[in-house]
């Protein structure tokens, strides 16, 4: 521990000696790797090293403990007469929320970690999900969910990891979980600094990072400080509508991801997944394999304490078996996303997002278009004002406004080719912590 502290001090001195370097929160260093690196937020995905770290951070005996989370209480309003899964109401009160606990300690020459992520959304997000025009994915009430973002499961992550030395600067890493995230896609949106303060889920979620809750996953990889190559075996089925259990299944899906940190401010990833029956609607359809490809980059820049700018660009495609009205066919579809968030002095945050998606028509319950993809877009922006109440917590209030841009085929269903969305919300989450 003394050597670890010394290493941390050396790290801090190096940071002070380079005023141009981005603000990086160094933690306890063990044998060349940090116990809680700023790159680690979601599964084994990497964020830039310059990512501001939120949460409560304590040491307890040999353990390095971290607690993070976000609670929103949000009123949503999407005017129009759109019929959607879970009912046709155009307003809704929901509370998207999650809490993550991580404990790491030295074991042998490396580090061992336990991590869990929980959500109360099974009880706080009703009616099959939060109103969200064009969002699709998973099932509820024996129907595929459309125009809502489904609630997350109670157990989003229950996993352990180990990171040990390999040769030179190279290390090996193993990650296993009853619930966890395979090596696919960018860091999941609740953890991305460009998205985490926005309570609205991206419509591209199910092409980019929907695998962030897999019930059964093992991942192995090698990495140095800048490059990581990893592969996973996992249960590829998305969670079912019973949100409080573990939907364990066979490890019949696989993925691989290459992550690169060209600078402390930038993270890049390219990943591919080959998944069996990822959508519950494939029930009874054998060999429903879907191949997904994702590429993304996240950029983070800090401008002094409490002021940072983060942006993410991502692209995802899926190809495989779809089923319309009981008839299977092959489909290729995808989505792209650009999102950004700027926080000033830990008080004011403005954020925005632009998305374009080629959505299978039947995912939006537009069965008359058979197996066609319909291209739609979404633009969204918002503002949050946060306050400091001490004790490591920062409440805030904010709002969002967005428009969904609909093709002629869908416009009648949404009362026009431009469908607006609004929300106001309260947020409570930990403050940024400086080590």
């Amino acid at each position: 521990m003394l050597s670890a502290s010394a290493s941390a001090r050396v790290s801090a001195q190096q940071t002070q000696a380079q005023p141009e370097a981005p603000e990086v929160h160094e933690h306890v260093d063990v044998a060349g790797t940090l116990l809680t690196p700023t790159t680690d937020f979601s599964g084994t995905a990497w964020l830039p090293k310059a990512t501001p770290m939120l949460g409560l951070h304590r040491s307890w005996r040999e353990w390095d403990l971290r607690l993070d989370g976000t609670v929103f209480v949000q009123f949503l309003y999407e005017p129009g007469d759109r019929h959607r899964t879970g009912g046709a109401a155009n307003h809704q009160l929901v509370s998207p929320n999650w809490v993550m606990a991580m404990a790491r300690r030295r074991v042998g020459a490396g580090r061992f970690g336990l991590r869990t992520m929980l959500s109360a959304e099974p009880w706080t997000v009703s009616d099959c999900g939060a109103l969200n025009y064009l969002a699709v994915g998973e099932v509820c009430d024996n129907d595929t969910i459309h125009d809502r973002e489904q609630p997350h499961d109670l157990v989003m992550e229950l996993a352990a990891d180990y990171d040990g030395p390999l040769k030179g600067e190279w290390r090996w890493q193993a990650y296993a979980g009853l619930a966890g995230e395979p090596a696919f896609g960018p860091t999941a949106y609740p953890h991305r600094p460009s998205a985490s303060i926005n309570p609205i889920a991206p419509i591209s979620h199910h092409w980019l990072d929907a695998t962030h809750i897999a019930f059964g996953v093992v991942t192995a990889g090698v990495h140095n400080q800048r490059v990581k190559a990893e592969a996973s075996l996992f249960n590829g089925r998305s969670p079912d509508e019973q949100r409080t259990n573990l939907d364990l299944g066979a490890f019949d899906s696989a993925s691989a991801r290459l992550s690169v940190l060209p600078t402390d401010r930038l993270s890049l990833q390219l990943s591919v997944a080959h998944m069996r029956n990822p959508r519950a609607m494939f029930e009874g359809l054998p060999n429903a394999m879907v191949t997904s490809i994702s590429a993304s980059g996240t950029y983070v820049r800090t401008f002094g304490p409490g002021t940072s700018w983060s942006s993410t660009a991502a692209l995802g495609f899926s190809t495989g078996r779809e089923i319309v009205s009981g008839i299977p066919f092959d489909s290729t579809n995808g989505a792209t996303l650009i999102e950004t968030s700027m926080t000033i002095a830990d008080r004011h945050t403005v954020f925005g997002r632009a998305e374009l998606a080629a959505i299978p028509a039947h995912h939006l319950h537009a069965f008359e278009f058979g197996g066609e993809n319909l291209t739609a877009g979404k633009l969204e922006g918002g503002y949050v004002r946060q306050f400091s109440i001490g004790k490591g917590l920062s409440p805030g209030v904010g709002g969002t406004a967005g428009i969904s841009l609909l093709p002629p085929e869908l416009a009648p269903r949404y009362s026009g080719s431009v469908a607006p969305s609004f929300s106001i919300f309260f947020i409570l989450r930990p403050t940024r912590h400086a080590m």
């Binding site: 019929h83 024996n142 319309v324 009205s325 008839i327 319950h365 008359e368 058979g370």
Partner: protein, 144 residues
């Protein structure tokens, strides 16, 4: 795979037709799916049952609520109501019984759209996904 389904449907319809004709000739029992009733007049297509029919959606419900067409035919839905309707196959939510109905889909007031071709002898229930308790009806697909 769609083509395979279509081929399967045609083969099934042909087999059922042959069975119906054969059984009628020998005086045996006729399979339930191929039971036919005598129409009041032969259709212009030469088939006993018409190859097309129209269902008008009104505030009072579909008119008529039940239509009979021949295998290979379509049904056109016309929305004469003042509100939209979304016509899909039973059962509610899964819509898998008769996929050709799902091609009708969402109809704004005044809009009309035909179903896909019915290729299987079957009784097909349909409903309005926007108000499944208010609009429902049946399409009997028969063969001659």
């Amino acid at each position: 795979m769609l083509d395979m389904k279509a081929v399967t449907g045609r083969v099934r319809a042909a087999v059922l037709g042959c069975v119906a004709v054969t059984c009628a000739a020998c005086g045996g029992s006729i399979p339930q799916a191929a039971v036919v009733q005598s129409p009041t007049a032969p259709s212009s297509s030469g088939y006993r049952w018409p190859l097309s029919a129209t269902v008008t959606l009104t505030a009072e419900g579909p008119q008529p609520a039940t239509v009979i067409i021949n295998v290979g035919g379509r049904v056109t839905f016309v929305n004469s109501d003042t509100r939209p309707h979304e016509i899909v196959s039973d059962p509610y939510l899964r819509h898998e019984d008769c996929p050709p109905i799902n091609r009708v889909g969402f109809l704004t007031p005044g809009q009309e759209r035909p179903s896909a071709v019915f290729e299987v002898v079957k009784g097909c229930g349909f409903h309005d996904h926007l108000d499944q308790t208010g609009v429902f009806g049946r399409i009997d697909v028969r063969i001659e």
